[in-house]
Amino acid sequence: MEITITESGNQIIATFDGRLDTVAAQQIEETITPLLEHADQTIILDCEKMPFISSSGLRIFLKIRKEVSAKGGKMQLKNVCPDVMQVFKMTKLDGIFEIL
């Protein structure tokens, strides 16, 4: 799992590349710190190259979402593949996450 973080205007774009499974979730715990630091801005999570997400991955997203809510920013997801979308639906997170 690789995460590329780019800044574009007042938007932070994080591109997820690979499976966000339990192992990956543990590995990227540190990597997402910059995102949390910019929680007052709009954070866009590009999920185009992320075919899989586990509950640990969901927790990463939830963690960012929580931080954003607290600091007055926004978290948006884009290019979510059907399999991952299915997981969001199963967990009712499709209603919570702002999916573009």
Binding site: T22, V23, F52, S55, R59, K66, M90, T91, K92, I96
Partner: protein, 686 residues
């Protein structure tokens, strides 16, 4: 086992050889004896013949002298034919010319000298009585020489001749022989005969002097067989004699040499005695040498037999030792392991051991190396082997087994022999090995094609200290992983340059095992070390044992580390592929099972404790059934509070999502705690 030759058999064989040798020697001797006998006889005959010839020659010379004397006188007679009285002088001259001459006479034809009468023979003869020569006119009517053979024959003969020997009754009482020579007048008409008598005694000395051997004798006989000269003393000759005879040409005499058979072969006897002595000493020498060499051979044979015996026993010991080695067949029913052991002892029997067997779904194994080599090491090895079997049969912990082994070996170890040993118990369901290493070479662990030494602190050697404590460690093998055990015979195998194979080479070889089976791995390592050692003599026992864990394609064992989760997706993917399941179903099943396994990894075992989770997946045409088990603390994930998904985000607790996902994806989820294990059964509708 080879047939042993008994002492009797051996001696018999050797004796036959000796007897054949002696027989050949004897036959050779006999043939040679007869050959030299013939030769000796031949040379004896030659010698006898030569002696006779010599004797004849001496006789001829002696008689020839008479002839010459008389012949020389004849011209005188013929010259003085006119003077009849001169004949006396000439006669005396003849008679006195040789001591051999007993008498001489010149007789004339009848009325040759009319004045002398009808007979005229001048004679000078030796008179025995007065030991002097006496002259007289011998012819008279009483002594009518004209009628005598010698005279008549003398007149007729062209030259001189010898008469037959005759006995002189008149004076000498001895055999005489006469030489008669005709006298011719100027008209070459025979007018008289000179007659010279000689005694055969003169020849007797010659004849008697002939001595070929002590009892041989020579005789002189007339042609009629009258014995003229014989041995002086009467002697009887017993047995066979060899008789040689020679007629003396023109003398009417026959020389005979008689040699007793015994004396004929006297020389032969001497030489044959010598020969016999030589042959006998030869035979004795043969016997002596044979006896000596037979003894030596027997000793050698005994040594050889002893060696053979020892070799046989060592071969038996090796067979026994090899029979102690476990067979792969014994663990064949355990489908989750591939196992292969190999042992090549350096000296018939070795001090290395390895053993394994399956009990209660557990593989119990050990590999060890007894200090030293040969029979003592092999004995201790056999003891250790049976100790391992006994102790491991009722123990569950390797360190306890090791302590028991150490105590048993240390208790009675007068020769301070020690053993290095690696002992382990492998759970065939999970691939987890608890092991204990008593100073043994660290085994190589091959995981995902990567080989490395099992880096754990070894405990004390076995047999060194009573009541020593041992520590166990744990290791889990995943599908295809191998624990490669060996003795120092591998790493310390030397080539001709005395370089050792070494741990580095062993590890490099193992790194190339790839997907090889246990058997192929052993083979490859064996080849590598063989190639390295080349033609150098094997200096130590070489023992290797490869234990490869192969759960089936529907089974996966995962350790309680997050990283282990990486195995899940490839495992499921492979399973879907093998069972031709719709791949689009994979992400969902993967997600549910990852959540379940994560749960075990995170919560089943107390912090810091190593444990495993075993996942089994089966499929039929409607469902995919998954079973996840672990031996952790009893825990029912289904009873865990699920997230209330309807509450706002801020109210949500992180956690509980996993269980929710499992329940969401799976059509049926059941939990039970059985046989000390948490069992979670999950059914997925296809």
């Amino acid at each position: 086992m080879k047939a042993q030759i008994s002492k009797q058999d051996f001696a018999r064989k050797e004796l036959i050889k000796i007897f054949i040798a002696i027989f050949v020697l004897l036959v050779g001797s006999v043939i040679y004896y007869f050959y030299i006998r013939k030769d000796a006889l031949h040379s004896a005959e030659k010698r006898a013949e030569l002696t006779l010839k010599n004797t004849e020659r001496m006789i001829l010379i002696r008689m020839g002298k008479i002839e010459t004397t008389v012949n020389a006188t004849r011209p005188m007679v013929e010259y003085a034919l006119d003077d009849p009285d001169a004949m006396f002088d000439i006669t005396r001259h003849i008679a006195e010319s040789s001591s051999r001459i007993m008498g001489a006479g010149i007789a004339f034809k009848a009325d040759y000298y009319p004045e002398k009468g009808h007979w005229y023979e001048t004679y000078v003869g030796y008179h025995y009585g007065c030991d002097t020569f006496v002259s007289k006119q011998l012819g008279s009517a009483k002594h009518d020489y004209l009628q005598m053979d010698w005279f008549k024959k003398g007149l007729m003969s062209p030259s001189g001749f010898w008469s037959d020997p005759y006995f002189d009754n008149a004076g000498g009482k001895t055999f005489l022989v006469s030489y008669c020579l005709p006298i011719h007048d100027s008209t070459n008409e025979a007018v008289g005969v000179i007659c010279t008598d000689i005694t055969l005694d003169t020849l007797a000395s010659i004849v008697k002097s002939v001595k070929l051997s002590p009892r041989s004798f020579c005789t002189l006989t007339s042609c009629e067989g009258k014995l003229l000269v014989g041995p002086s003393t009467t002697q009887k000759i017993r047995g066979k004699c060899h008789v040689f005879s020679e007629k003396i040409e023109g003398k009417n005499l026959i020389l005979t040499l008689t040699v007793p058979d015994a004396e004929m072969y006297k020389r032969l006897r001497k030489s044959s005695l010598f020969f016999l002595l030589m042959a006998l000493s030869g035979i004795f020498a043969v016997l002596f040498i044979s006896f000596q060499s037979m003894q030596n051979l027997w000793k050698l044979n005994e040594v050889r037999l002893k060696e053979q015996h020892i070799e046989d026993e060592l071969a038996i010991a090796r067979n026994i030792q090899q029979s102690l080695l476990p067979s792969e067949q014994t663990v064949k029913s355990s489908k989750t392991i591939n196992i292969k052991g190999l042992q090549i002892p350096a000296k018939y029997v070795g001090g290395d051991l390895f053993d394994y067997y399956v009990r209660d779904n557990k593989l119990l194994f050990c590999i060890g190396d007894v200090s030293g080599k040969g029979v003592p090491a092999a004995l201790l090895m056999a003891i250790s082997h049976s100790l391992f079997r006994t102790i491991s049969s009722h123990n569950e912990r390797p360190e306890i087994m090791m302590e028991a082994l150490n105590n048993a070996i240390s208790e009675n170890n007068p020769d301070i022999m020690f053993i290095t040993m690696f002992l382990g118990i492998m759970d065939l369901t999970t691939g987890t090995i608890s092991y204990c290493n008593a100073g043994h070479n660290p085994p190589i662990v091959i995981k995902n094609g990567r080989a490395e030494y099992l880096d754990t602190e070894p405990s004390l050697l076995l047999g060194v200290e009573l009541s020593a404590k041992y520590t166990a460690h744990e290791l889990t093998l995943a599908h295809g992983d191998t624990l490669f055990l060996y003795t120092d015979g591998l790493t310390e195998a030397e080539n001709t340059e005395h370089e050792t194979f070494g741990e580095k080479r062993a590890l490099e070889t193992a790194a190339h095992f790839g997907t090889l089976t246990a058997e192929q791995q052993i083979e490859q390592m064996h080849q590598a070390v063989d190639q390295f050692v080349n033609n150098a003599e094997q200096s130590d026992d070489l023992t290797m044992l490869a234990i490869q864990y192969v759960h089936g394609e529907n089974r996966l064992v995962i350790e309680n580390r997050i990283q282990e989760l990486d195995k899940l997706e490839p495992f499921l993917s492979h399973f879907f592929e093998q069972k031709s399941i719709d791949m689009s179903l994979l992400p969902q099943l993967d997600l549910a099972l990852e959540e379940a396994v994560t749960n075990v990894i995170m919560y089943a075992y107390p912090e810091g404790e190593t444990g495993t989770a075993e996942l089994t997946v089966n499929v039929n045409n409607k469902q995919i059934c998954s079973t996840l088990t672990d031996s952790g603390t009893p825990f029912n994930p289904l009873e865990q509070q699920e997230d209330n998904l309807d509450v706002s985000l801020e109210e949500r607790k992180i956690g509980g999502l996993g269980i929710h996902l499992i329940k969401e994806i799976m059509s049926k989820v059941e939990y039970e705690y059985a046989n000390g294990r948490n069992v979670l059964r999950m059914t997925y509708d296809v």
